[in-house]
């Protein structure tokens, strides 16, 4: 299967072609959905216009191929974003319910088994007053915020749900997700500094301090996966796992190390040092009030979703299933759902960690990162190399 990214497409065939025909040579489900939406929506508009002004050019133009493709690309992005957004809300709901049961209470109870509470909370933060402190570095304050949220949303949309549900299929897929992930601590540092608040400054510095403890083991773990699969492309990695064996079995050490790193990567309890509410009030988010805080929280869940998705891609075989994975009915209806269920399962482990563990200290996380995670990831890499050299895998 040869995939081509949009950028490659533009470089190779020019901008005109992109509008004129589908950018996807393989079947792309969101694109297909988007085309169908536009065919009915644009068709309806064209029909209405045609009723009022018969035989006009606009109606013809609306349903012509280039316009349909153009709108389909926009709608496709919205479809993909909507799915990851709703799934993030579901994860939020999952966390609240599981945490509630762990703590001997019921969790949220508003509508649909408590799911509507997420929407209610979102609405509440949007209705709050938009408080902006006076003595701040305005440019960095706003840019830091929007880039943190923006990269989170971008990350979530970069995650392919299956080999037919993706925006772009990069050859360096995993690497780009990692690069976008690693951008956040820098932005948090800037945003924390710009707020002219001591708590947020310390929180921002902690984010940078935290980064050097988990980022390196995480990249070494990535090297293990990539070596085994022989590609950075997520599709190839999943296909390799489907063909041979889920990497969780040969790389069991890597799997557990990766879960710890992923919790740190998404800055959740017990590694949420940059927003430790017991000592730093709200950490780097202290001066971001109301809607801004709500969006940051949403961004956090986007990042948590991507961190879980990374674990699933690297070790749990992505959207594949061992026995029924090759069947036609499975491939037609289930890969995306199975993938999201796996993500929810990994997130369940995150929630259990949050319920059971207190927050660690900065020096402790550095100790864990350099004295435990680092050697473990190197051992994992050595095992992978051994398996590759001996030809077992």
């Amino acid at each position: 299967m040869a995939y081509e990214s949009i950028t490659n497409f533009i470089v190779n065939r020019g901008y005109e072609d992109l509008i004129a025909m589908s950018p996807y040579e393989v079947y792309n489900l969101p694109y297909d959905i988007a085309v169908k939406i536009w065919e009915s929506l644009g068709g309806l508009i064209a029909w209405l216009i045609n009723l009022i002004f018969p035989n006009n050019g606009v109606s013809q133009w609306l349903i012509s191929d280039p316009v349909t493709n153009g709108f389909a690309i926009i709608l496709m992005v919205i479809v993909i974003f909507a799915v990851s957004f709703v799934f993030c809300l579901l994860m939020l709901w999952e966390e609240r319910k599981v945490l509630g049961r762990m703590m001997d209470r019921r969790g949220t109870m508003v509508g649909l088994k408590g799911f509507l509470q997420c929407l209610g909370d979102g609405l509440k933060t949007f209705m709050k007053e938009n408080v902006v402190p006076k003595a701040i570095d305005k440019k960095i304050y706003w840019w830091g915020l929007s880039l943190v949220i923006g990269t989170s949303v971008l990350l979530a949309c970069m995650v392919p749900l299956s080999n037919r549900w993706f925006i772009v299929d990069y050859q360096a897929g995993l690497l780009i997700i990692f690069a976008l992930f690693a951008l956040a601590p820098f932005l948090i540092l800037c945003a924390g500094w710009a707020q002219n608040n001591k708590y947020s400054l310390i929180g921002g510095l902690r984010a940078a301090e935290l980064m050097i403890s988990y980022e390196i083991p995480m990249l070494i773990l990535l090297a293990g996966t990539v070596l085994m699969a022989g590609s950075f492309n997520i599709n190839d990695i999943v296909a390799y796992q489907e063909e041979h064996i889920w990497f969780v079995i040969p790389q069991i050490i890597g799997f557990f190390t990766c879960i710890v790193c992923a919790v740190a990567e998404s800055e959740r309890v017990p590694f949420d040092l940059s927003e430790a509410e017991a000592e730093l009030v709200e950490g780097w988010q202290t001066e971001y009030a109301g809607m801004k805080w709500g969006l940051i929280m949403l961004g956090d869940y986007f990042r948590g979703y991507v961190a879980c998705a990374l674990v699933v891609f690297m070790y749990l075989g992505g959207w594949s299933l061992p026995v029924i994975g090759g069947e036609d009915w499975y491939l037609q209806y289930f890969p995306e759902i199975v993938f999201l269920l796996k993500v929810a399962l990994v997130f369940f482990i995150f929630v259990l960690a949050r319920a059971a563990l207190p927050r660690v200290r900065t020096d402790q996380i550095l100790n864990v990162g350099w004295k435990a995670l680092m050697p473990l990831s190197v051992i994992n890499l050595a095992i992978v190399i051994l398996l590759k050299v001996t030809g077992v895998m």
Binding site: L99, K198, I202, A278, E279, L280, L357, T362, D363, Q364
Partner: protein
């Protein structure tokens, strides 16, 4: 010159009075060098209500419910302490039944106060599960309070010369059930805390105080017993029926935050033991025995002092009476007020993240600190 330049990198961070770690209205100003604390300064007084002065305009009976308000979670011991100082002044002996009832009420109060502390420790180290589990157990102790006194927190139970009412029906049964349940579920909570290496790692090796500091600052209570001073007023200067109780005073030598934590946990188990013994003794006392004496309204002229083992340390009241219905002066020695003065010493050299863990071990209660 070089040193001056170094100093310019330090900054003062004001933690409080509205801060998640402070559990009330007080401020801890800390000077930090990066994350390391180089200096600290506690500021209390935001909750000053003029309690001592208000007492001078009230009759002795009216001060009992006010003493409840000194500390929301240790109200029983404070009203008990006030009744005790008034009894010292009147020189009367409380009926035996009342003595045991007071012991039971005090220990229930101690358990629920320590559970409130444990819940606060949970939030301070960033785990809400500990918080909710501890508060769930505390609810059973508050239910016992409701059975005995009709109130959850501000109990208004002790009276000068006894207690307000006798035990209600089946109180023994309820009490025993609650204690048994509590001992089991405390082990559940310990599995979350002591068995978790992260929790122990957060507590161990920070906030050291030595026996010398205890003497210099006047630290009392679990903080004192956590650094090797074997002293408990309940055992060494027994009041009411504590002289007849057999219990151990937990003492640890390390003097760090974790030992203070361990002392408090062990104290809760010992309180259960005391309640069991007191309940057994209460069975042997006839049901119609008096539980309250008639006492005169006025207290004879003189100065009197009484002290008691509060959940947070040594509570002391000093009463100057002029022979009228109300006191001339009533001075309260609050254990937390004294303990918090050592906070500068305790947080020296630790990280910002350790401050909540260390300060949680003081178990701040601003009602009695600022009075």
């Amino acid at each position: 010159m070089a040193e001056e330049k170094m100093n310019s990198d330090k900054m003062w961070v004001t933690m409080g009075p509205q801060h998640p770690f402070s559990h009330g209205l007080w401020t801890l100003r800390v000077e930090v060098d990066g994350e390391i604390i180089t200096d600290a300064e506690p500021e209390v007084g935001y909750l000053h209500r003029g309690w001592e002065k208000e007492c001078e305009n009230r009759t002795y009976n009216k001060i009992i419910p006010m003493a409840d308000r000194l500390c929301y979670s240790a109200s029983m011991t404070w009203s008990h302490l006030f009744c005790k100082v008034a009894e010292e002044a009147l020189d009367i002996e409380v009926p035996e039944r009342a003595q045991y009832l007071r012991v039971v009420a005090d220990e229930i109060c101690r358990i629920q106060s320590h559970l409130m502390w444990l819940a606060a420790v949970g939030t301070d180290v960033g785990n809400l599960t500990i918080f909710l589990w501890a508060l769930r157990e505390r609810e059973f102790m508050l239910d016992l309070n409701v059975r005995l006194c009709g109130q959850r927190l501000t109990t208004n139970y002790p009276r000068i010369g006894g207690v307000r009412n006798d035990m209600p029906y089946y109180f023994e049964r309820d009490c025993m059930r609650a204690i048994e349940r509590f001992e089991k579920s405390l082990w559940d909570i310990i599995r979350l805390t002591d068995d978790s290496s992260i929790f122990v790692g957060r507590m161990k090796g920070i906030g050291y105080i030595t026996r010398k500091d205890v003497a210099n600052y006047g630290i009392t209570g679990p903080a004192m017993r956590g650094c090797g001073v074997d002293y408990d007023i309940r055992r060494d200067d027994p009041y009411d029926a504590y002289g007849e109780m057999e219990f151990e005073v937990p003492v640890l030598k390390e003097g760090d935050a974790y030992s203070r934590y361990m002392v408090r946990i062990e104290e809760m188990f010992q309180s259960c033991e005391i309640i069991r013994q007191a309940m057994k003794k209460l069975e042997s006392i006839p049901k119609n025995a008096p539980y309250r004496l008639k006492v005169p309204k006025c207290i004879p002229e003189g100065t009197h002092m009484a002290r008691i083992e509060d959940p947070r340390g040594e509570g002391l009241m000093y009463l100057v009476s002029d022979g009228t219905e109300s006191p001339y002066r009533l001075k309260v020695r609050s254990p937390v007020f004294v303990n918090v003065s050592a906070s500068k010493h305790m947080v020296q050299g630790v990280r910002i993240a350790d401050i909540p863990a260390i300060m949680a071990m003081i178990d701040m209660c601003l009602g009695e600190t600022d009075r």
